[in-house]
Symmetry: D2
Subunit: 364 residues, 4 copies
């Protein structure tokens, strides 16, 4: 297997001109594209239509190139478009291509492999509960096995979590029962992350996750999951990134924990783990070898950072989601010397409370 990754800057959410050029010049073979991850310049919220606009471009493009109906494009390629390029972040996409499968013979160094899969379809009442956790864990485990990886090799599980539709009346009705429907973004992200944590042995010994842990016990988390969630999606889409001896990619991935929003030490640790030596900021040459940066952020809901009050949660003009993305992306950018970072917010069980996690892909 050989994974390539192309970072492409966009001039607006629907802009695919650079990707079209890479395809026209043979740099990217459309039939080899397995997933596209990117940041679009919306607000990341319910009325963020920039992701839909980007999808229209991708669907029109790949429908023509692959000669398939528009509706089938998302069955062939997994898309993870995240709205919100607050502050310095430059809107961009990363196009991953794959040629070949897992090698028969071991290479001398571990290199990037990627696998994609889907969970089964969920019912509204399963979201945010044991059913979603178990199914997510099952698929992640299968993906890992199919790529000949062990948990230590896995550095990023990018997911788009299911949120099956449920009517206002069903929701209201269920809230009177002991099992209110949790089919919303918060719970779908939380359970997805816990599913990864289960599959990759990230939980403390002896902890058996239950419905009650989801979005309540923040001491349980994955440092590897990265989940967005999409209303109306019935199954969770999963992309697993790891390093394997059975790959000829010239890319490797590493990951780590961001303990709070100003944890430059944690960010540098990931870069050091990837072999970069530097002071406070990568050199332009080093920076140019960074292909993908994926982080999860959260404004600490307790209202404090290192002992001092922050005001992100009490600001009724600007959402804390926008602040936390803005902050963490700025801090990461200042260390990379580059503003093409993917930070997605709401980090339920994605790293410690008030922090998040981080994965970086570099060219060797």
């Amino acid at each position: 297997m050989r994974i390539n990754a192309h970072k492409i800057f966009t001039s607006s959410p629907g802009d695919i001109t650079e990707l079209e050029k890479l395809i026209a010049t043979g740099v990217v073979n459309p039939s080899e594209v397995i997933c596209i991850v990117g940041k679009t310049e919306g607000n990341g919220g319910r009325n963020d239509f920039t992701r839909d606009l980007a999808m229209r471009s991708f669907e029109r493009l790949f429908s023509g190139l692959l000669n398939i109906p528009v509706e089938e494009v998302q069955d062939r390629i997994i898309f993870s478009l995240s709205g919100g390029t607050e502050g310095v972040v430059s809107p961009h996409i990363i196009v991953f291509t794959q040629t070949g499968g897992i090698l028969e013979n071991k290479m001398s160094e571990k290199r990037l492999v990627v696998g994609t899969a889907y969970t089964r379809e969920f019912l509204p009442h399963e979201i945010g509960r044991k059913e979603q956790i178990d199914e997510t864990a099952r698929v992640v485990t299968e993906l890992m096995n199919s790529l000949k990886l062990v948990p230590q090799d896995v550095h990023l599980v990018q997911m788009k979590g299911a949120i099956p539709k449920c009517s206002y009346e069903e929701q209201v009705q269920s809230e009177k029962t002991s099992r209110p429907i949790r089919s919303n973004m918060v719970y779908s992200r939380g359970a997805s992350a816990l599913g990864v944590a289960v599959a990759l042995n990230e939980l403390p010994d002896g902890v058996a996750v239950t419905d009650d842990h989801v979005c309540h016990d923040w001491s349980l988390y994955s440092t590897i999951a990265s989940t967005s969630a999409k209303p109306g999606l019935n199954r969770t889409e999963i992309m697993l990134f790891g390093n394997s001896y059975y790959s000829t990619s010239d890319l490797v991935i590493g990951h780590g924990v961001v303990r709070d929003l100003i944890d430059s030490v944690g960010i540098k640790d990931v870069l050091t783990q990837l072999g970069f030596e530097f002071d406070v900021q990568l050199s332009p040459e080093q920076s140019s070898r960074i292909i993908g940066v994926f982080a999860k952020s959260e404004a600490d809901e307790r209202g404090w950072i290192r002992g001092h009050r922050h005001t992100m949660l009490t600001d009724d003009d600007i959402s804390d989601t926008r602040y936390s993305r803005c902050v963490l992306a700025a801090v990461i950018s200042s260390i990379l010397g580059d503003t093409s970072v993917y930070v997605s917010t709401r980090a339920e069980h994605h790293g410690p409370q008030g922090g998040g996690n981080l994965a970086i892909i570099k060219k060797v």
Copy 2:
């Protein structure tokens, strides 16, 4: 002269309980307070009333303690309250006190001195023009001389720029002439900074500043000025901070340039200049010795950061002023390991375009 500085966190814009405690316990002598600088949790814009609320508290407090009318408090103490604690910033104030004047005899090391002064009152048509620049330069020069400083000793000139009132009709009328009235925040900040640049020899040799340079030629700037501007203020309030052999303070100040919003190298340079040795983040012990951090920020109006597009200027939901403060404060905080930083935005002639400047005060 001995300058002390007390950093105090607030629980809301009008909160002065910690300051009252410091006064009650004798740590702060109210008659020695010369200026108070701080960040309040408003939007930093026209409808930011958090600064007024803070002023009500200070006026009530010092009016009682100094036994003077409420109206005279601002004649005794200079206040520089800046709205906007976006992202991680923790609302806080720094209370500067002074005992004694400039020493007769030289000490072995340069230490912090502070002087305060006012320009004469301006007329609306003088703002943003040569008249404001010259008067600002004159007062800064006098202050510097009175503190026995040379330009190299001065590291921060904190100003609240005058914006004398002018009616809508006068404004409209003047726009038909060759000398439209510039009595607004943009021009008052710009001319104030250029006044400092003139006084401290920061401009290239041979450049004689004219009205046309103000807010047009961004290659001219001060690395030392820090200006906010207040509608209705008729004279500019000036606080000058420098290091002098004729001081017994246990504080020193340094400053530098922030070339763009992700310039962690420039930020570290200032800390290194102040004698801190560290990797990517100060240790808690080092961080505890940082008393004041004052920066100016700006979203690059050309729309690019290090070759990549940013979206701060085309976001019609959130002002670029809030983004640039959020970003620069986050980056600085991540290096300090502390979120009590003062970043004020709109940096017309305050550092290079798209960047800003930075001054830091530490305890020796």
Copy 3:
């Protein structure tokens, strides 16, 4: 009893110059002021400090005039300052004064009377529950009786609802029990309104309100309550407005229901009830006789208005609270021909779902 009301426009939240003039010229006797209701230009949310700023002005003013400590001003006068002057609304206050008590002898026409009172202090676990409803109903009933009113005479009960403080840990702990702490704005407003509905016989026959009804069964509501709620307030402040034969005021009050945000018919009904005859907008003379307009608004949480989708609830850039105030105030203003209206949002049990209620005071 004679109630006077003075509508005063402000130039900023802390502006009291017009009120000072009215006092200086003897129009307003400060010792007769019983309550001040007003709109300030904040966001009406958690970081709206405009109300605090206004209070500073009022406290300083009345402390001096009444020769009482600043802290006691709120014990002498009830203040109901509501943030949010979205759209056309002009920031203003209405100062109510009272001379004399309830008359011994009946007059020929019913005129405005006002009474003020406080509930006992609440504990956090009582808020949003039967305890708060019952205590509110008790105080409203007492007030009504003390003013010799029957329920049909009461047209507005303006309240500032208690929200006793509760720690994050207590809150989290209580959520694991069958009686989670509801000490927040939503529940305090809801239970306050239901308390009024109970006292004034506004509920359907046979309905006995329980904890489960609060903020769940929207078919139960008061058309007369108007509640804001303030974190940190331990008791609810209550002002009751009605019409009585035992009053010599030259003011009368009426009220009605706003069925949805575009219910111009409901608004006109209240004006007609007050004796105004007009087509689509009051004449300037009629409009000048309107002294106070108090409404509650809510963006319909079902997402529809008269069969068509609205987008107030899915807009993550602007809060629906700001939209609903903006909309209802605009509609009312267009009928009055005047923009000094007080619309406060979040109308839990204040009128039908998606609507609100409305009271108007006119000069006879």
Copy 4:
């Protein structure tokens, strides 16, 4: 000529399912569609991509139905999509179809006719100046003549104004000359409206419009123009709506002036002109006959409405464009009893300062 109009509600900006149904059932013949006007739920600003998303849907749909390349759809059909459904406004589109041309013989009553045309392409330096005004007036006059209309018959000229691209450097350079480039939204809208005013004799006798009038002399305006402007568009797109004896439509159009944002009288006048008799709100039957409502709004830049201060211009959290659309749409909706109104903001020379204009199409 027969014009039909179909009002269609959308569930999101890209939703065209209802339109597809109307086409599938033969109600709408795609080859007869001449223009589509609609409101999408964006912010109406620079980062509003909802209009682009809607266009993707329309382009895909009509490209398939008309068997033309996607790029040619906008040459066949004129689209006027306006972002911003603040408050109660329900996102919707109105699809206009045309069969036949202007009749040979006069009918007994005037009915709706529509014509569409384009100006020549503009250069950046022509925008906001005499060249744009004259060319706009020329095309409007030609359109009017081609439809056998006189100025009194014309009730709406809907335009998308040209804003040819101009580099940052060209812009900066031009600002040093006596003819700064005005190729922006403000000036393109302003000159477009003045072009209509010229063509339809709306200006006072003897006034010859010059460059200096544009966006300066607000006493000059059209009550009929409705302009948005689109960066990157080189020519202005024009749709003219009038009533003619040579039409068999069952629609008629009327228009009027909105003197300020609470001018319910002006709004009722237009409905009365169209033959509706009602009190304060149309009956549901009357309301169902309203097919299109097109208004322009503006927050009065002088800061006052009927003598009282408004805060729309000093609110740095929410743009006045959003407020003014929200307000005027709410007021109109409250009179119609319906929330499908099209209000577009920025009304430079579109009605009196602080107001706007209004056109309504009804089914006879």
